[in-house]
Amino acid sequence: MNEPRTTCTVTLTVNGRRVTRSAPAHVTLLRWLREAGVVDVREGCGEGVCGSCAVLLDGQAVSGCLVLAAQVDGSQVVTASGLAGEDGALSDLQQAFLDHGAVQCGFCTSGMLLAATELLGLGEPLDRDRVVAALEGNLCRCTGYDGVVDAILAIAGGARTAKR
């Protein structure tokens, strides 16, 4: 019998690094990651709408605020900082965001990058409508979406460095 526990020890592979931490059972993946020092995952709305706490969980974007750490013990997690190279060099997608003015305050950017990473990984032909649909759950309150969509389409179109 699996009795309910108030503390859970959870092991995750976060950006390629194995991390084991004990935390109260009600701690979300978002809070668990932030308390582990992974602070590019941010709390916005707390109800899964805004996308600023998105992470890739076993390759798929999920809201870190709507998943308990205990639920996903043993999983692979990638956050936006995990997209960069080990030497800190930006990925092509991250560079494209800079090149296309897709970043202003940056609060939503991590989530946007991860939604885009999942979408690009599907290998489907992309047009503007498909990219917009994939970003449905990512809200930006300052710079808007055109630059983000442009950046993703540039990468989908095979751009390596899309410097203008």
Partner: protein
């Protein structure tokens, strides 16, 4: 966020989940995909003391066709239904409804059983199931009851599931050859719950309606069928459906809330109901020509 701490149990089976639910009473809740429950927990609107996770329970993630019935395990994620070729070809109404559920992230984690048991009156999947005349399996760990989608939700977020009972699967009949479908919804932002949603199935021959099934979500405490319209439309011409529009909302009195007034919802329901019904008729005719 100021979440009241709760305990967590990963049930290995439905029987184990049911037994934990029984041991802890109404303050224990099933955690399926968490995409509806955890937002209200984060907002303090629900304060469960124990969450019983079905994510590691065996036997709940099957998606299979048995004769002409689609059997969907309660823990099948929306994304799985959304990307299933079988669902797209034989259960197109379900496929259309799924695309309106939440955001892509919600569909990755959200589950069919969770959505049905949560019973939000504006949710798309309970509405689609009502029109598809699905049935649900509910297990207390020993016995399984089979419940009709009609009557499953009794009010806002309230179902006929007994305490300690777990919804384990939905059984969805396939459409007969030549039956068409329609689905429309209006929401304020992409990914929001519907202000109003309408789902329809229809069988038409030579421009004449054989039968229409029409359901609405977001117009009251649970999704409803439109019996007056369904009866009035049998034998009508497709061009004559517009004149029956008022019968779609007959007997409905949605309350005013922060998202919309009740009279506005009625007007939207009339329009979307007609569109869904007419789409279903046109698809039926298309399939038979």
């Amino acid at each position: 966020m100021f979440v009241k701490p709760f305990a967590y149990a990963a049930a290995g089976s439905v029987a184990e989940a049911a037994s934990i639910l029984r041991a802890h009473g109404p303050e224990a809740r099933i955690l399926a995909g968490g995409q509806s429950l955890l937002p209200i927990v984060n907002l303090g609107l629900a304060q469960p003391r124990v969450l019983v996770d079905l994510g590691r329970a065996s036997g709940l993630d099957g998606l299979e066709r048995a004769n002409d019935t689609l059997v969907v395990g309660a823990m099948v994620r929306h994304r799985t239904l959304e990307t299933s070729a079988e669902v797209a070809s034989s259960w197109p109404l379900l496929a259309a409804a799924i695309r309106h559920v939440g955001s892509p992230r919600v569909r990755v984690r959200g589950t069919l059983g969770g959505s049905l048991a949560h019973a939000d009156p504006a949710a798309e999947l309970p509405l689609a199931m009502l029109v598809l005349e699905a049935t649900y399996d509910a297990s207390d760990g020993e016995h399984v009851r089979n419940l009709g989608a009609e009557g499953f939700a009794v009010s806002y977020f309230t179902t006929t599931l007994a305490e300690g009972e777990v919804l384990t699967a939905a059984r969805v009949p396939a459409l007969e050859e030549g039956v068409g479908w329609g689905f429309h919804e209006l929401s304020r932002r992409a990914g929001d719950f519907a202000l109003v949603a309408a789902a329809a199935l229809a069988s038409c021959r030579d421009g004449v309606v054989d039968w229409i099934r029409l359901g609405l979500g977001g117009v009251g405490e649970r999704p409803v069928r439109c019996p007056v319209f369904e009866k009035a439309s049998a034998g009508a011409s497709i061009d004559g459906l517009e004149a029956l529009g008022d019968t779609i909302v007959q007997g409905l009195a949605p309350p005013d809330d922060t998202a919309a007034g009740g009279d506005y919802r009625l007007r939207v329901a009339r329009v979307l109901g007609l569109r869904a019904a007419i789409d279903a008729c046109r698809r039926s005719i298309g399939a038979r020509s």
